[in-house]
C-alpha cells in the first residue's frame, strides 16, 4: 500500500492579534508562529496506522516555504518513510487550484494507492485540495472522512453529514480521502523518534524538478485572485461587557437571571 499524505504549513492565527499588511491583500505574518494544519495531523496519523496494519510505505509532501521542513521532519518522526518538500519562489501566491496542480504533478509519477489530506486548511478555509487533486489525477475522492478501513482494492469509510448523521461509503482504490479531525488520536512524538529521523534527507524540488512552468503556478496559475482583505470590526454584533472579571461576571449573572439562564 503506497500512501501519500499532503500537508500544509500555516500561520497560527487562533490567538494572535492580526493586522493587514501594506499591500492590503494579506495579513502581516512576520510575528506569527507557523504549525502543521491541524486537520493534516490526523491525516498523517491515519496513514501511519494504515501502514502499520496492512503494510506499505508513507510518503509526505508539502508545497511550503523553507521553514516547513520542521513539519516534514516531524512527520517522519510520526512514522512516515519519506518526505518531499516542494518549493520555488514562483509558488508564492498559489490558490487551491495551483497548489493542487503542483501536488498532482508530483504524485502522478509515483506509486499511489491512497492519498490522504485534511479536509480543510485553517488559513484559507478553502477545503479544495483533496477533491481538486483527485480530479486532476482521475481518481474518486471524498471529504470529511473518518473510520477508514482498507480491504483488498477497496476502502470503506464514514463521511460526516449534518446533524450527527454519517454516510457509510465504499470506494475503489486508488482514491483520495480528505479526512475529518477526530478520526484518530495523533500519537505523541518522542524525543527518541525525533532523533532517529534527524539525519534523514528531505529533498526539495523546485518548479522545473516538479515538472511545471511559471504560468501554471503562483498567482499566474491560480483561478482566484484576492482583491483585498480587511478585519471585521471588533466585537461586531455583541455588546462587550467591560470591567474587571468580577464586574463583568456580575453583569452576565444578572443577564442570565433576567433571561432564564439560571435553571
Amino acid at each position: 500500500m503506497d500512501i501519500v499524505v499532503c500537508m500544509k504549513w500555516i500561520p497560527d492565527t487562533s490567538e494572535a492579534e492580526l493586522a493587514v499588511d501594506s499591500g492590503g491583500k494579506d495579513i502581516k505574518k512576520d510575528n506569527l508562529d507557523y504549525d502543521i494544519n491541524d486537520w493534516d495531523r490526523f491525516a498523517i496519523e491515519e496513514a501511519v496506522r494504515i501502514k502499520e496494519k496492512v503494510g506499505g510505505k508513507v510518503t509526505v509532501v508539502s508545497v511550503a516555504p523553507e521553514d516547513a521542513e520542521e513539519m516534514l521532519r516531524e512527520s517522519l518522526a510520526r512514522g512516515a518513510d519519506e518526505a518531499y518538500h516542494l518549493w520555488d519562489d514562483t509558488f508564492e501566491g498559489s490558490d487551491g487550484y495551483a497548489v493542487s496542480r503542483i501536488l498532482a504533478q508530483f504524485i502522478k509519477g509515483r506509486p499511489h494507492d491512497l492519498i490522504l489530506t485534511g479536509t480543510l486548511a485553517e488559513d484559507d478555509g478553502g477545503a479544495q485540495v483533496g477533491g481538486m487533486l483527485a480530479a486532476m489525477l482521475g481518481l474518486p475522492s471524498s471529504a470529511l472522512v473518518s473510520k477508514i478501513v482498507i480491504q483488498d482494492s477497496k476502502v470503506t469509510f464514514n463521511r460526516e453529514l449534518e446533524g450527527g448523521l454519517y454516510e457509510a461509503v465504499e470506494m475503489d482504490l486508488p482514491a483520495v480521502l480528505a479526512v475529518a479531525t477526530g478520526l484518530n488520536e495523533p500519537r505523541f512524538v518522542s524525543i527518541r523518534a525525533v532523533r532517529k529521523v534527524a539525519g534523514m534527507d528531505i529533498p526539495m524540488l523546485d518548479l522545473g524538478e516538479v515538472g511545471l512552468n511559471e504560468a501554471q503556478v503562483g498567482s499566474q496559475g491560480s483561478r482566484i485572485q484576492v482583491e483585498k482583505v480587511f478585519l471585521p470590526p471588533e466585537g461586531e454584533g455583541a455588546e462587550i461587557i467591560k470591567g474587571s472579571p468580577e464586574e463583568a461576571a456580575a453583569r452576565v449573572a444578572e443577564i442570565l437571571k433576567e433571561k432564564g439562564g439560571i435553571g
Binding site: G131, G182, Q225, P232
Partner: protein, 325 residues
C-alpha cells in the same frame, strides 16, 4: 456570464434548506447580471421536488436516475460536467453543505471552472463577480475575484442568503436524459449511520455551557462542570474538544455534530468556526467569553466578555450562587 445555475441539494427525497438559500443568492446575482436563473435537480423520482423548485425558479433542469438517490460526488460530477459544459459561460451556486464540500472541488476541475468556497457575500462590480469569504480562522474578511473565468463555481455559507418565497411562478421543467452510462460508480453509498447516543441529549437542553479550544490543553473541567450544574444546564463543546477526547462526540455542537436551540448558550473559549455557528443559530441568547476580541463568535453573540476564563468562570459561578439565594 449569461447563465446562473443553482444545484438543488436533497436527502431522503427532501430538498434541503441550502437549496433555497442558493436560489436566493442566484436571484440576486441573476438580477445584477441580467442573467437567466435555472435550477438543476439530479434525483431519483424527482417530480415532486421539481414541482417545488418550479414554483420559485423560472427554469428547472431535471435528470431522473436511480444513481442520484444519494448525493454522490462521483455520479454528480459525471452527470453535471457534460450538462453544464454545453451551456456556455455560467456561474454555478451551491450551499456549502457537507455534501457540497465533497463535490465542489472535483466538479470545478472537471468543469474547468474557478471555485470560491464558503462565501457569505456575492457582488457584481463593473460587470465582474466578487465573492466575500473569511480566512485565518474566520478572523479576516477577504474579497476575491475570478480573473476572466468563463465558468465560476461558488458555495455559500449557511444563513448568508435568507430565502423569501415568491411562489406563484410556474417555471419550465426541462427533462434531460441521464448522462450516466451502465458502468459502475467508483464510489458507492452503503447506508446512513446515526451518531452514537450518549447519556446527555444536548439538543433538548434549555441551558448549555459550551467549551472550545480556548479552555486550554489541560482544562480544569471541574470548574466548568460546576458552573453548568449551578446554572442548571449541561456541558457541550466545539469540535477540538472532541478531537482531544475531553468530551465524547455526542456533546459536540455544530452542523457536523448536534444542532441545538437552547434558551441560553454560554460559549467559553469558542472562536466560532462556521460549522459551530451553524449549529447554534436558533438560540435566542448567546453569551461568549473569549480572550480574543476578534473571535467570530462575538458576531453572533448578544453579549460578550473579552477576558481570561480562569478568572471569569469562578467569578461567574459565585455571582450566580449569590443571585440564587
Amino acid at each position: 456570464m449569461k447563465q446562473i445555475f443553482v444545484l438543488a441539494e436533497h436527502r431522503k427525497q427532501q430538498l434541503r434548506d441550502t437549496t433555497w438559500e442558493a436560489i436566493a443568492a442566484g436571484r440576486k446575482v441573476a438580477g445584477e447580471f441580467g442573467a437567466e436563473l435555472s435550477c438543476i435537480l439530479l434525483a431519483s423520482n424527482p417530480d415532486g421536488m421539481a414541482d417545488q423548485l418550479a414554483k420559485e425558479c423560472p427554469k428547472v433542469l431535471v435528470v431522473d436516475d436511480p444513481k442520484f438517490e444519494t448525493f454522490n460526488s462521483d455520479s454528480f460530477i459525471k452527470a453535471l460536467t457534460p450538462i453544464l459544459k454545453d451551456r456556455g459561460p455560467f456561474m454555478l451556486i451551491m450551499g456549502n453543505s457537507n455534501s457540497v464540500i465533497d463535490l465542489a472541488p472535483g466538479l470545478s476541475v472537471a468543469l474547468d471552472a474557478a471555485l470560491a468556497t464558503d462565501c457569505f457575500g456575492l457582488e457584481v462590480q463593473d460587470g465582474k463577480l466578487q465573492a466575500l469569504r473569511q480566512i485565518y480562522s474566520y478572523k479576516v474578511n477577504s474579497v476575491v475575484s475570478f480573473k476572466d473565468a468563463e465558468r465560476v463555481v461558488v458555495t455559500l455559507r449557511a444563513g448568508s442568503f435568507p430565502f423569501t418565497p415568491v411562489a406563484g411562478q410556474t417555471g419550465a421543467v426541462e427533462k434531460i436524459a441521464s448522462p450516466l452510462g451502465a458502468e459502475p460508480l467508483r464510489k458507492r453509498f452503503l447506508n446512513y449511520v446515526e451518531a452514537e447516543k450518549g447519556d446527555v441529549d444536548i439538543a433538548s437542553a434549555d441551558i448549555i455551557v459550551s467549551l472550545g479550544r480556548g479552555i486550554g490543553d489541560e482544562p480544569e473541567m471541574e470548574a466548568f462542570e460546576s458552573l453548568a450544574e449551578t446554572m442548571g444546564g449541561v456541558l457541550a463543546c466545539s469540535r477540538p474538544i472532541v478531537d482531544k477526547s475531553i468530551l465524547p462526540k455526542y456533546h459536540q455542537v455544530g452542523t457536523s455534530g448536534v444542532e441545538v436551540k437552547p434558551k441560553v448558550y454560554l460559549a467559553l473559549g469558542i472562536s466560532g468556526a462556521f460549522q459551530h455557528i451553524g449549529g447554534i443559530k436558533g438560540s435566542p441568547l448567546i453569551i461568549a467569553i473569549n480572550k480574543d476580541p476578534r473571535a467570530p463568535i462575538f458576531r453572533v453573540a448578544q453579549y460578550g466578555i473579552v477576558g481570561d476564563l480562569h478568572q471569569v468562570v469562578p467569578a461567574l459561578e459565585a455571582k450566580i450562587k449569590e443571585l440564587k439565594k
